[in-house]
């Protein structure tokens, strides 16, 4: 009977209470994480904002998804503004990006945006996502914050300057996972009007040719990209074997021919 002294009963009740309290706290954090790579999150003004991508970010085009929670519950109708920002030693700059729409996407039930990173993270500087969220219902709730991100290098972005010193960013988006046969070809073209403004180029014409330099031949039935919307151009590329390929683009922007831009793919 000595084991049933009141002190023990009190300790037991406290322990049960602690466990129960912990369980309640866990319930508050029980946000169902999407099956995506989490870039980071911040909490401001009661809103928790998280960013996700399909894989670690890399130079080039990246899909980015956002989720906003308030007290562990999905926030009603957030309006998400974001931009990319690279902080370098003496200056900062952004890059092309696309803000999410007002509705969740069908694939992940998240808010989908995109960003094109034109250089990797490293000694030259660091990337971040600058976010501002407010309520579309004008409740007055607003949150701002920064998510620091790492961007891996890749060869999917070409930046070039024309004779009139206009600067452009050409990004290879598809094929992301090339295979033998016909592949969708998608590129994006943006003009760097300033360090903080990269509007899409809507009127470029592109001649496209895939080439296998080690074999010294190309392939047939390729479709040069044409503008679809918002600076994105769609075409098709035929890989008739695996190996090292060059995707060669000859661009003309506002009647000015641009030096050939080449992406290398190896699969």
């Amino acid at each position: 009977m000595k084991y049933f002294k009141p002190i023990y009963i009190i300790v037991l009740v406290l322990l049960i209470g602690i466990v129960a309290a912990c369980s309640d706290d866990s319930d508050a954090d029980l946000v169902t994480e999407p099956d995506l790579y989490k870039l980071g999150e911040f909490t401001d003004n009661g809103l928790t904002v998280a960013a996700y991508s399909e894989r670690p970010l890399e130079v080039g085009f990246n899909n980015i998804w956002f989720e906003v929670h308030e007290n562990g519950e999905p926030f009603g109708h957030p309006h998400i503004h974001f931009n990319t920002m690279m902080h370098m030693e003496h200056h900062s700059h952004t890059s092309p990006y696309g803000e999410p729409g007002h509705h969740r996407d069908d694939e992940h039930n998240l808010y989908h945006g995109w960003a094109i990173f034109n250089m990797p993270s490293g000694d030259m500087g660091t990337w971040e996502l600058d976010l501002t969220i407010h309520d579309q219902d004008h409740s007055g709730i607003e949150a701002t914050g920064i998510i620091d991100v790492e961007v891996e290098p890749s060869n999917r972005v070409r930046t070039f300057m024309t004779e009139d010193e206009s600067r452009y960013v050409l990004t290879l988006i598809e094929p992301a996972d090339p295979s033998v046969g016909m592949n969708d070809l998608k590129v994006a073209l943006h003009k760097r009007e300033s360090m903080m403004n990269f509007p899409p180029v809507l009127n470029a014409t592109m001649q496209f040719e895939p080439w296998m330099p080690s074999m010294d031949h190309g392939s047939s039935n390729n479709v040069s990209p044409v503008h679809d919307e918002n600076g994105f151009y769609n075409g098709q590329v035929n890989f008739n074997m695996t190996g090292d390929w060059e995707l060669r683009f000859d661009l003309e922007i506002d009647g000015v021919e641009i030096d050939r831009q080449t992406f290398e793919i190896d699969f």
């Binding site: 295979s179 033998v180 046969g181 080690s214 047939s220 035929n238 074997m241 695996t242 090292d244």
Partner: protein, 744 residues
């Protein structure tokens, strides 16, 4: 004495069979067999005494012949056998199936027989019994037949200017699909002279002989069969050819009893670099290969015979100096089971069924080449692999009723083919490239054909042929399917099914006692083969282009007309044949040049080929025989308004032969005219010069068991290039050859 007894018995047996013949014109038909072994003999000449009517037995030893009531004697002759003469008397039962037995002559036994349709004489050079000479060498004397030369072995037959899918190359009726996508291993690469009893060549659509004919023609390699009642036999032959320092070894052993027989043989060749007519030897032109053959014959009764046979052919490195790669290894396994059923039903005298399966694997690479110096695919090693599995069956029924002969056949076959290539850059930082040349291709065909021969009377023979063929094709590899969808369209049908047909009619008339003439008309379609449909980036050494197949090809139509005349027979002092023909090809399948490197298979309008073949044979005396042949093909591609590529020039040969039981001699002159009609728009063909070559052969039987073969080819060491030589690879220069054969 034994010979005379068999002759006497044969004649005695035939007399009543032929006795009722004298009073009317009748058709006789039957089979000719080896009196010692009971095996059928193809290429046997059967002729009436005045030379009015004559014919040659087919690959199954069968013949049909219309004789007149004035004919008294039937003459039956064949190289390597004693000729016999059979009296035709009033007791002849002409509708009976005749069996004629010929007794082998010892001094010419073992000859390889080459027969061609409408040739009065079989090619029977004094070297015919030599196993040392390659299959191609034995075939080279047939007019209208040319060979594509890629290396110092394995030449590809070209008949009347057509090759590849337009010529059926069969081994005992079995199909064999080469595995090298670049065409380095034609079917001739996998058979040795030792494997063969005879080679039957058909030129153009062949009406009425029961063969699965193609627009160009067919080559059927009939395999040698073990002999019943032969007891134990063995032979060995070794030889040497100076032009490529080739050593040759061959041996065989066979045993035959009354109901079964077995034969096992092997051949090995080891050749060094080839010596052309002038200059130095061509580096990297040697080869080494071995061949084994086993054949088991079982005849449980007079009506049934089973023959199980296997050929294994194994080649080591084969040098292709005119091309950018060499064969590293090539293996072929050829197996078949044949059942021959004699006189199964009333009016049906034979049903022959064959089941077979052939597998070929082929490896090639350029590891022994300096890839840094070449123009094509520089700095790249390109090992290639190909494999094919061909399986199928054939069944053929022969029947007769009065003056009518019928042949019905059914054939089904399936080809499974795969080919790929790895490209390895000499710079290790460059990734390997991988290309599917044939992505698990399946081709299945079913063929039904029938022929009807009617001996109308008054010297007329009419023949009608009908054939229908259904083909189904599949491309199974997903990457290959994606490749073809990208090449053509996403909606392209990668499982095309097609139907082909052939209809033919031949009329032949005896004009006089020594001359007959006829006309043959044929029209038919050919289904595209698996390479034409699905071959991807196939390098064609003939013109240096990479070919891309086309699953959407339509069948190619061929309309042929031929007039021919035959004169005399082998027994006549003078005999010969002459054929003139024209072949109009519509929906002609060829590679359309898309740039400086590539061609795409397309139906390319109309092409026309026309030509002639002539053969003349003169028996100067009982010992001296002279012969000559001449052939020409003129091909034009109307769509491109230029000559068809790879057309053989005017060519011919004459020979003088001394026959004897002691020393047989033969002198031969081979010649070809220059070929200046070349395709320059769609191909990059080059002209070739004419040439004339002198050869001398001798066959010396030292005893009944030992004989020596001697040869001196290209005596003047002339430098020349065959027009059908790939990349103008020079032909062999002076060649001294010697072989010794011992038989027990």
């Amino acid at each position: 004495m034994k010979t005379r007894i068999i002759l006497f018995i044969s004649a005695l047996l035939l007399m009543p069979a032929l006795s009722g013949f004298a009073h009317q014109s009748e058709v006789i038909h039957g089979v000719v067999k080896n009196a010692e072994t009971g095996e059928v003999i193809s290429g046997v000449h059967i002729q009436t005494d005045r030379g009015i009517a004559g014919t040659v037995t087919n690959s199954k030893g069968e013949f049909k012949l219309q004789v007149r009531n004035t004919d008294k004697i039937l003459s039956v002759s064949h190289v390597g056998f004693a000729s016999i003469r059979i009296k035709l008397n009033e007791k002849c039962d002409c509708h009976k199936w005749l069996e004629i037995a010929l007794v082998p002559e010892q001094f010419r036994s073992g000859d390889l027989l080459i027969t061609a349709d409408r040739m009065q004489m079989q090619h029977s050079g004094v070297y015919s019994s030599s196993k040392t000479k390659s299959v191609e060498d034995h075939m080279s004397g047939i007019s209208g037949l040319d060979m594509v030369t890629r290396a110092n072995m394995a030449k590809d037959p070209v008949i009347r200017g057509m090759r590849d899918g337009r010529v059926n190359v069969l081994i005992d009726g079995m199909r064999l699909t080469p595995a090298c996508v670049d065409g380095m291993d034609p079917a001739t690469a996998y058979v040795e002279t030792d494997n063969l009893q005879s080679i039957e060549i058909g030129r153009g659509f062949e009406n009425g002989n029961g063969k699965q004919s193609a627009p160009g023609g067919s080559v059927n390699f009939s395999m040698v069969r073990p002999s019943l009642n032969s007891g134990l036999k063995a032979s060995a032959e070794t030889g040497y050819q100076s032009v490529s320092r080739q050593q040759f070894y061959q041996g065989s052993v066979s045993y035959g009893e009354e109901q079964w027989a077995f034969r096992l043989s092997g051949t090995f060749r080891d050749a060094g670099n080839l010596q052309p007519g002038s200059g130095s030897r061509i580096d990297g032109s040697g080869f080494r290969k071995g061949n084994v053959m086993a054949s088991l014959l079982y005849q449980p009764s007079e009506s049934h015979r089973f023959n199980l046979r296997y050929i294994g052919d194994f080649a080591g490195k084969i040098g292709y100096p005119a091309m950018i790669m060499d064969t590293r290894r090539a293996d072929a396994h050829i197996a078949g089971l044949e059942h021959a059923w004699s006189n199964p039903f009333s009016g049906v005298y034979s049903i022959t069924t064959n089941l077979y399966m052939n597998r070929v694997e082929h490896w090639m690479d350029d590891y022994d080449r300096d890839v840094t110096e070449r123009e094509v695919m520089r700095d790249m090693f390109m090992p290639m692999y190909g494999e094919t599995l061909t399986s199928g069956f054939t069944s053929e029924l022969n029947a007769s009723r009065n003056d009518h002969l019928f042949n019905l056949s059914i054939e089904g076959f399936r080809i499974d083919a795969f080919g790929d290539m790895l490209m390895e850059h000499i710079d290790p930082s460059v990734s390997d490239m991988y290309l599917l040349n044939l992505g698990d291709v399946v081709q299945q065909n079913l063929i039904l054909s029938g022929t009807h021969t009617w001996f109308v009377g008054s010297g007329w023979t009419l023949n009608t042929t009908l054939k229908g063929e259904a083909g189904m094709n599949r491309l199974n590899n997903e990457d290959a399917r994606a490749t073809y969808r990208a090449e053509y369209s996403q909606d392209i049908n990668l499982e095309p099914s097609d139907f082909a047909y052939q209809i033919g009619f031949t009329a032949e008339k005896e004009i006089s006692s020594r001359v007959s003439a006829g006309v043959s008309l044929s029209s038919g379609t050919r289904l595209p083969d698996h390479m034409e449909r699905y071959g991807y980036y196939i390098f064609q050494p003939l013109d240096g282009f990479f070919y891309i197949g086309n699953p959407d090809l339509s069948p190619e139509r061929s309309t042929q007309a031929e007039i021919f005349t035959l004169m005399g027979s082998e027994q006549s002092r003078i005999s010969g044949s002459l054929s003139a023909w024209v072949n109009r090809m519509d929906n002609y399948i060829a590679g359309l040049r898309t740039d400086d490197l590539f061609k795409q298979m397309q139906n390319m309008g109309r092409a026309t080929l026309t030509g002639f073949e002539g053969d003349l044979f003169a028996r100067i005396s009982s010992r001296w025989i002279a012969s000559g042949s001449l052939s020409y093909v003129f091909g034009t591609h109307q769509e491109l308004d230029e000559p068809l590529p790879m057309m053989p020039p005017l060519k011919g040969q004459v020979s003088l032969q001394r026959q004897s039981e002691s020393v047989q001699l033969e002198g031969r002159l081979r010649w070809a005219a220059p070929q200046n009609r070349i395709a320059e728009q769609n191909s990059m063909e080059t002209t070739t010069n004419g040439y004339a070559l002198l050869d001398l052969f001798a066959h010396v039987p030292l005893s009944r068991a030992v004989s020596v073969q001697l040869g001196l080819e290209n005596m003047l060491n002339t430098f020349y290039t065959e027009h059908l030589s790939v990349n103008s690879m020079p032909a062999p220069g002076r060649n001294v050859q010697i072989s010794v054969r011992v038989g027990i």
